[in-house]
């Protein structure tokens, strides 16, 4: 029994030397050994404004010209002397950046850095029971030296060991995101994170930017129904009916049983003045809707509009 607890204690001691997840990346041949984005601008934080400063760094890195002072009223909460995570994402979107949360692992950060995307991270520089929350921007790393560099607080090139970074980052449950120009995609992660970022982006950034961003994602993940719907919808809003029709045609051929794809195609065809084709698409959509009442009523609205159009003619 005593031996067992000794072994356990020893195991804990060992694990305190190198933070979990660090060895996995330093020994992984998949990552470039070092990379640093030296051109990343720097905005030293004033008072408790690490949120606005980090966000300004990430946004200016993709040529969105905005100062920390401009961001203060958007993300800073005076009485809390800080910024909420959700608002950091929302503010990035408001300034036209596609904000994608990355996978909660060190490997994802390295992938983004080596692809040229700085990573905005949340750290707890204190302890779990005495937190000192902080936002910073990872700009570089060296796996041989086991170091990572950040634009952090008042330090332009803040150096941390990978282990120390990993521990302070772990306390925020590995919270991190990349802010991208529309048309760029994160180097790490799957389609789900990009989809959820794109849907919010479509609402905040406007249809023109959204359609560029959707087009890039639909190219990387061809045949994805959500991405094609997003591309078609945003193109439709900008008045680019040709692209919208192309997107929904691709959606109907990749997902022939999708009522939504056929319904939206019908709307685009109607906008193009192809009433007959629109009617066929809408009828097909209604067939496919099955017992879904919400869908049925939405498709019925499309059919009503097509009929109203025919009467006007």
């Amino acid at each position: 029994m005593i031996l067992k607890s000794f072994i356990l204690a020893f195991a804990f001691l060992l694990s305190a030397c190198v933070a979990t997840g660090v060895r996995e990346v330093t020994q992984n041949p998949q990552f470039p050994r070092q990379h640093e984005l030296t051109e990343t601008p720097f905005f030293p934080q004033e008072l408790y404004h690490c949120g606005p400063a980090a966000l300004a760094t990430a946004l200016n890195a993709i040529d969105v010209k905005v100062s920390p002072d401009q961001l203060v009223p958007e993300v800073y909460i005076p009485s809390r002397k800080g910024s909420l995570q959700i608002e950091m994402l929302a503010a990035a979107r408001r300034h036209g950046a596609l904000a994608v949360k990355i996978e909660p692992e060190l490997g994802a950060v390295l992938k983004e850095i080596s692809a040229g995307n700085v990573v905005l991270v949340m750290q707890n520089l204190g302890l779990s029971w005495a937190p000192s929350w902080h936002y910073a921007v990872v700009v570089g790393y060296d796996l041989d030296k086991e170091l990572i560099w950040l634009r952090s607080g008042t330090f332009e090139r803040f150096e941390m060991s990978l282990s120390a970074f990993q521990r302070t980052w772990a306390r925020s449950k590995y919270w991190a995101f990349v802010a991208l120009k529309p048309g760029d995609l994160p180097a790490s992660g799957g389609v789900e994170a990009v989809i959820s970022a794109l849907i919010t982006y479509e609402k905040n950034a406007g249809a023109a930017k959204a359609s560029v961003a959707y087009a890039a994602a639909a190219k990387r993940w061809p045949g994805n129904l959500v991405l094609l719907t997003g591309l078609g919808n945003s193109a439709y809003v900008t008045g680019d009916f040709t692209s919208a029709a192309a997107a929904f045609r691709e959606a109907t051929s990749a997902h022939p049983d999708s009522a939504v794809a056929h319904n939206n195609l019908a709307n685009v065809q109607l906008a193009q003045g192809e009433v007959k084709a629109a009617k066929l698409s809408a009828e097909k959509a209604l067939q496919l809707a099955g017992g879904d009442q919400k869908l049925q009523s939405q498709i019925q609205k499309t059919i009503d509009e097509i009929n109203a159009y025919s009467i006007k003619k």
């Binding site: 009223p73 958007e74 909460i77 800080g82 909420l84 959700i86 408001r94 959820s196 479509e202 905040n204």
Partner: protein
């Protein structure tokens, strides 16, 4: 005077409700969001409306001003939240203690939630703020 106040807040609540229900995609197009996750969408607008309605309360507004936050800015911030994020913020409403004068309790709960978001209380774990 009290009656006028009430009338005004009712009007405010109603106008917010209506702006909340305006859809971004026009015609009979079905939104991307609906395709992605039909379940969260309808909830999102309701959640957002709840939060915005509470933000419009006079006492909350006074509290906002006292804390150095422009009430209009606060509403903009809520508007910028995604449905999913709004759901996270408002999901705690479901766990409000039931029974008794439910309306009043829910109201207190809402105010607590808001004060939490704005940083003068710390009831819910998801409203972490940083330095």
């Amino acid at each position: 005077m009290n009656f006028v106040k009430r009338l005004f807040s009712a009007f405010l609540a109603a106008s917010i409700l209506f702006t909340g229900s305006i859809q971004t995609v026009q015609a009979a197009m079905i939104s991307t969001e609906q395709v992605a996750e039909s379940s969260i969408t309808s909830q999102g607008n309701q959640d957002r409306t709840l939060i915005v309605a509470a933000l419009s309360r006079e006492d909350v507004q006074a509290a906002l001003v006292a804390r150095g936050i422009d009430p209009a800015q606060a509403q903009d911030r809520v508007a910028a939240l995604t449905d999913e994020e709004a759901s996270v913020v408002a999901s705690q409403l479901d766990t409000a203690p039931a029974g008794g004068i439910i309306g009043a309790i829910v109201l207190i709960f809402l105010v607590l939630l808001l004060t939490d978001i704005l940083g003068f209380t710390k009831i819910f774990p998801f409203t972490r703020s940083v330095r």
